[in-house]
Structure formats: structure tokens, C-alpha cells
């Protein structure tokens, strides 16, 4: 395994700060329901950067490390979908 370069870290940090700025500016605009999705998408991208570069998932040789996060995300997504499947139809199916 190779030690990452400092420059990579600094570049990732710059990307993260830029993305934070983007989240901040998106929130100020009126995009209706899209705002949440865009904010979450940006947050997801930021997490992706932290996971891959700061937490070294990208340079992991063993596949288990690279599988584990997407797997848990998928499980979590199912939790969310099931929760909303319940919530959305509480008044009965129309």
C-alpha cells in the first residue's frame, strides 16, 4: 500500500470547501422540492470524497472494504424507502 501524498489531501479539501459553498448557495435559491435532493446529492459527494481519499477506500486492495460501504448504504436506503412507503400511505391508498 502506498502512502498518499499531501497534495492529494489538499486538493480533496479544496473540493470539499467548494462543495460546501455550493450547498450554501443552493439553499438560498428557491428550487422547491429539488433543494433537498440537490443538498443531499452534494452531501453524498462530499462523503464520497472523504471516504475515498481521507479514509483511503480508493486505495484499498481488498474488495471487502470497497463493498462494505455501498452495501450498508443499500440497506439504509431500503430502511428509508420502507419508512416512506408506510408514511406516504397512512391515510389509506387513494
Amino acid at each position: 500500500m502506498k502512502t498518499a501524498k499531501y497534495r492529494t489531501y489538499i486538493l480533496v479539501w479544496v473540493g470539499l470547501v467548494i462543495l460546501t459553498g455550493m450547498t450554501f448557495s443552493v439553499a438560498g435559491r428557491n428550487l422547491g422540492g429539488w433543494t433537498v435532493l440537490i443538498a443531499l446529492a452534494i452531501a453524498g459527494t462530499k462523503s464520497g470524497l472523504v471516504l475515498n481519499y481521507f479514509m483511503h477506500l480508493r486505495s484499498e486492495k481488498l474488495s471487502i472494504f470497497r463493498v462494505i460501504i455501498p452495501l450498508v448504504m443499500a440497506v439504509f436506503l431500503v430502511f428509508i424507502l420502507l419508512t416512506f412507503a408506510d408514511l406516504a400511505f397512512r391515510g389509506g391508498v387513494k
Binding site: 500500500m1 498518499a4 501524498k5 470547501v17 460546501t20 433543494t35 471516504l51 430502511f79
Partner: protein, 214 residues
């Protein structure tokens, strides 16, 4: 000048090392813990999303009372602390002991600064009578009460994680000082780093969901 020599040092010392089984299993253990933490906060995020779905206007209303600039500043603080954390591990792996310790101190200081800011935020709210079960809060709309309940619990639990992280990093600092961690043995520092990045990731999601509800 300093930057150029810093970058040159960077190029020269990106060395390769063999990963032992012990190293891998220690890392895996930490990742499993991280996943359990993700589910812990994940459950609360689901609760948040359910209540926000049911009370969109109240959530928007309550969110506007939070100080966005302070929240944004805190986000930048944690992102920078993640940078210094990752760099600290790199430094130790290259045998740059003093740099590693200095970067650890930077990380811990930024974490502390985050907590101080949080303290001010909470302090202002509490001064205005808004805290869990306060009469002022209970007199408000149902959705707003839920928002603040979630706000205090989630940022509180996150803050606790930051505090624990600072203590762990302090321990790592002492280990490096005593040469128990060095360029041949650095897995505990890597794992501490993974924990710290987790804390950062949780905040990356907390920030837009609490401060930027439009």
C-alpha cells in the same frame, strides 16, 4: 519558498509498505464499528426525515432561527480537521514524527473550536428559552418542537462523538510522543483517523439538513 520545499518533500517520500494481516483485521474491526455508528445516526436521520415530511413548514420556520454562518463555519472547521488528520497519518507513515504530532494537535484544536462554537449556539438558544421540554418551546407549533428535539439530540450526540474523538486523538498523541506509534506501527492512528472522518461525515449530513432547510 516553504511551500515548494514542502511539496518536494511530499514527492520524495511517498513510500510503499507491506500490509500485514494484523493491520487488515484491525482496520476491518474499525470499519465494522463505523458502520454500526452510521446505523445509529442513520436511524435518527430517518426519524428526522419522517417528521420533516409531516411538518415541512414548521421545520422550515424553526431552521431559519439557526445561525447559518456559524454552522457553515463549523463545517469548514471539521473539513479542515479531517485534512490535518489524514496528513498526520501520512506524516507518521513517513517517519515525520514531529509533523505528525503537530498535525494531531491542529486536528484536536479544530475539534475543540467546533465544540466551543456548538456551545455558543446552544447557549444562545437556551438563553431564549428554547431547550427540550422548556415552556417556551412547548408553546410553539408541534413541528417546531420536533425540530428542536431532533436538533438537540442529533447535534448533541454528534458533539459527544467529537469530544470522544478528541480524547482518542490525545491518547494517540501521547503514544507517538512515547514512540509506541511510529513509522513501523501506525494502525491505531489510522483507526483513530477513520473515527474522526466518520464524525466529519455525520456533520456533512447534519449541516444541510438542519441549517439549510428552505
Amino acid at each position: 519558498m516553504i511551500l515548494r520545499s514542502f511539496l518536494k518533500m511530499d514527492e520524495a517520500k511517498a513510500f510503499v509498505f507491506e500490509e500485514t494481516r494484523e493491520h487488515t483485521s484491525a482496520k476491518l474491526g474499525m470499519w465494522l464499528f463505523i458502520l454500526s455508528e452510521l446505523l445509529l445516526f442513520g436511524g435518527m436521520f430517518i426519524l428526522y426525515s419522517a417528521y420533516r415530511y409531516k411538518n415541512p413548514l414548521d421545520f422550515h420556520h424553526a431552521s431559519r432561527e439557526l445561525e447559518v454562518l456559524l454552522g457553515t463555519f463549523n463545517t469548514i472547521i471539521l473539513l479542515t480537521s479531517s485534512l490535518s488528520m489524514a496528513a498526520s497519518i501520512s506524516a507518521l507513515q513517513r517517519g515525520q514524527r514531529r509533523l505528525s504530532m503537530a498535525l494531531l494537535i491542529v486536528t484536536m484544536s479544530l475539534g475543540l473550536l467546533f465544540l466551543v462554537n456548538k456551545g455558543f449556539e446552544w447557549g444562545t438558544k437556551i438563553e431564549h428559552g428554547i431547550y427540550p421540554n422548556s415552556p417556551t418551546l412547548l408553546a410553539r407549533a408541534k413541528g417546531e418542537i420536533l425540530f428542536y428535539g431532533l436538533y438537540y439530540v442529533m447535534t448533541g450526540l454528534h458533539g459527544l462523538h467529537v469530544l470522544v474523538g478528541i480524547c482518542i486523538l490525545c491518547g494517540m498523541l501521547i503514544f507517538i510522543a512515547k514512540d509506541k506509534l511510529n513509522h513501523t506501527r501506525f494502525v491505531p492512528l489510522e483507526n483513530a483517523g477513520l473515527y474522526w472522518h466518520l464524525v466529519d461525515i455525520i456533520w456533512i449530513f447534519l449541516y444541510p439538513l438542519f441549517y439549510l432547510i428552505t
